[in-house]
Amino acid sequence: MAVPVQAGGAEVVVGRRKREWPLAVILLLPSAVVFGLFVFYPLARTIQLGMYRSDPFGGLGRYVGPSQYWDVLTSESFLRSLGVTLKFAALTVPTGLGLGLGLAVLGHQQLRGIGVYRTIFSSTVATSVAVASLMWLTLLNPSIGLVNQALTKLGHEPIIFLQRPGWALVSVAMATVWQNLGFTFIVISAGLQSVPDELLESARIDGAGPWRRFREVTLPLLSPTLLFAFVVLSINAFQTFGQVDLLTHGGPLHSTELLVYHVFQRTSNDPSTAAAEAVVLFGIVLLLTLVQLRVLERRVHYGD
């Protein structure tokens, strides 16, 4: 809720701000140095590197200018990787949201022992990418994996999930959805808690069944939360690296080569192109982050 600032109060605040400048600078200095050294300087260097042609000895090489960004943006391998990433986002974000919403609604019921389920549903936030990937590597293993054992029991041929072009991306997506589920569950559960009971009770008295109550009361009030989760999951999709590195190495036939992995592979043989690609990726994620900040702001001011 916004606190109204009175005119006189504002002047006092401005006056105090001026006096507190030196202190502010001193307090900000440590983090400014750390950010400058480890974020802004490398970022600037990367943008610069993106405008040179790599030389074989690791120097800056020949200057080609901003046009290299355009070349990279339109290059076949970058567009292919961007396509894979979009497909990956399309596979992970809606499923992640849907499953998270479903679990959160189940977890919101007042039942005996529901706490156990809530803990289980949230537990994936406590697993690292490495652990999650190893787990899925084992689960999807063609000979000893549980998934294929189940398929065989059902009379189906085993599927070599991680090596078949059609299946590899789906498999990485499954691992990712699973890994993100804890986060989605927690965020949406919190959103559900904030829907006032009285609204649902009122709707109940007014004759709305469970489905109408969900669709017309819960869901609209939950939409800022869902939008927030949507943006975070999208950013995650654009930043995915670990699962790809551990499960498929971008293969087969580049079918799981997400943007970060693509940039990572480029870095060794063509650092300046990789730099240009990294900057473009940065732009995309920055855009998503700005959307996210807007959404967060809306969330904070919602409901007054």
Binding site: P196, E198, R204, I205, D206, A208, G209, E216, V217, D304
Partner: protein, 336 residues
């Protein structure tokens, strides 16, 4: 149109007894006010009528029917919540329309009913606004309109005026009474405000700690409170209550009673209980003289103008015998 009855209803939440052995019959078309201090179980009682809570023991009837296990939507009632519970993302029109849409009323009829309800509550020009664009009083009207739009048999209200300022509250009280007369439906109204109870109720049910203390028309409850709790809860300033011996100068010859005297019935004169004036409060239209007699506080209501004692005066307080309320000293129940 329906009556509502609690038949020996008890409601427990774990160890907490919210409502205890409540036996109460609300007549058809009555405006019954459930009155009591915070936490006495009034909301719980109301929520049991609505079906939002089930009684632990006993039964509730609406009309002829026992409603245990009947879904709230099948009880033919509407409820106004203290927070109004308006849907923030829906317009005023959609809010009022919601109960009709939920019950599959055809669109043409819906429009007509919404217009009627909105017209009755002076909302016709606000139909396209969102709740957040309305004042507190307007929101409260939307909640009322949403409740009346379907013409339910019973109307439940849980402290619907407590979020309004004093002027709005006074104005809305009168409108609610008028609405009740116009609709001719049963109202069950929960409040902790005795003024609301006195001004609106056809009968008032006073509750304390989960149980019913007294049921009656407001004037009767005021004139003959059933026990010390009711005596002190209703009336402002509250009734003076002193032990029997203190009231001996007024002709009370018993030590096993406590004596209640309303502030307007105490007279300052030359005979009666001797007391010292501690504070004189002026309210504009009247004065309250706070006296102390034998360690007990007594409030006397005096006219705003004319002679009145000042702080430190020694006075004598008297009252006519018919204005003395006697309650049993140990049980607190009325004896005369």
């Amino acid at each position: 149109m329906a009556s509502v009855a609690f038949e020996h209803v008890t409601k427990r939440f774990g160890d907490v007894v919210a409502v205890e052995d409540l036996d109460l019959h609300v007549d058809d078309r009555e405006f019954l006010v459930l009155l009591g201090p915070s936490g006495c179980g009034k909301s719980t009682a109301l929520r049991m009528i609505a079906g939002l809570e089930e009684p632990t023991e006993g039964a509730i009837r609406i009309g002829e029917h026992r409603v245990d296990g009947v879904d709230p939507k099948d009880r033919d009632l509407a409820m106004v919540f203290q927070s109004y519970a308006l849907y923030p993302h829906k317009s005023v029109r959609q809010n009022i329309e919601f109960p009709l849409r939920s019950r599959k009323v055809p669109p043409a009829e819906r429009t007509q009913l919404v217009q009627d309800a909105a017209g009755q509550l002076g909302l016709s020009t606000l139909l396209d606004r969102k709740p957040r664009e309305l004042s507190g009083g307007q929101r409260q009207r939307v909640a009322l309109a949403r409740a009346i739009v379907r013409r339910p048999a019973v109307f439940l209200m849980d402290e619907p005026l407590s979020n309004l300022d004093a002027n709005m509250r006074t104005a809305t009280r009168a409108e609610l009474v008028e609405l009740h007369q116009r609709l001719g439906t049963t109202f069950v109204y929960v409040t902790h405000d005795q003024v609301e109870a006195m001004t609106m109720a056809t009968r008032v049910a006073v509750m304390s700690e989960g149980s019913l203390q007294q049921l009656g028309v407001p004037q009767e409850v005021y004139d003959r409170p059933a026990n010390v709790f009711v005596a002190q809860f209703i009336g402002s300033p509250p009734m003076n209550v002193v032990p029997g011996p203190v009231a001996a100068p007024l002709g009370v010859g018993r030590d096993d009673v406590v004596v209640g005297i309303r502030p307007e019935h105490l007279m300052i004169g030359t005979a009666g209980i001797s007391a010292i004036v501690r504070v004189v409060e002026s309210l504009g239209h009247e004065r309250h003289v706070l006296c102390e007699a034998d360690g007990h506080r007594l409030i006397v209501r005096c006219p705003a103008h004319g002679d009145a004692p000042v702080e430190g005066d020694a006075v004598h307080l008297s009252a006519r015998p018919e204005h003395l309320h006697l309650f049993d000293a140990s049980s607190g129940q009325r004896v005369a």
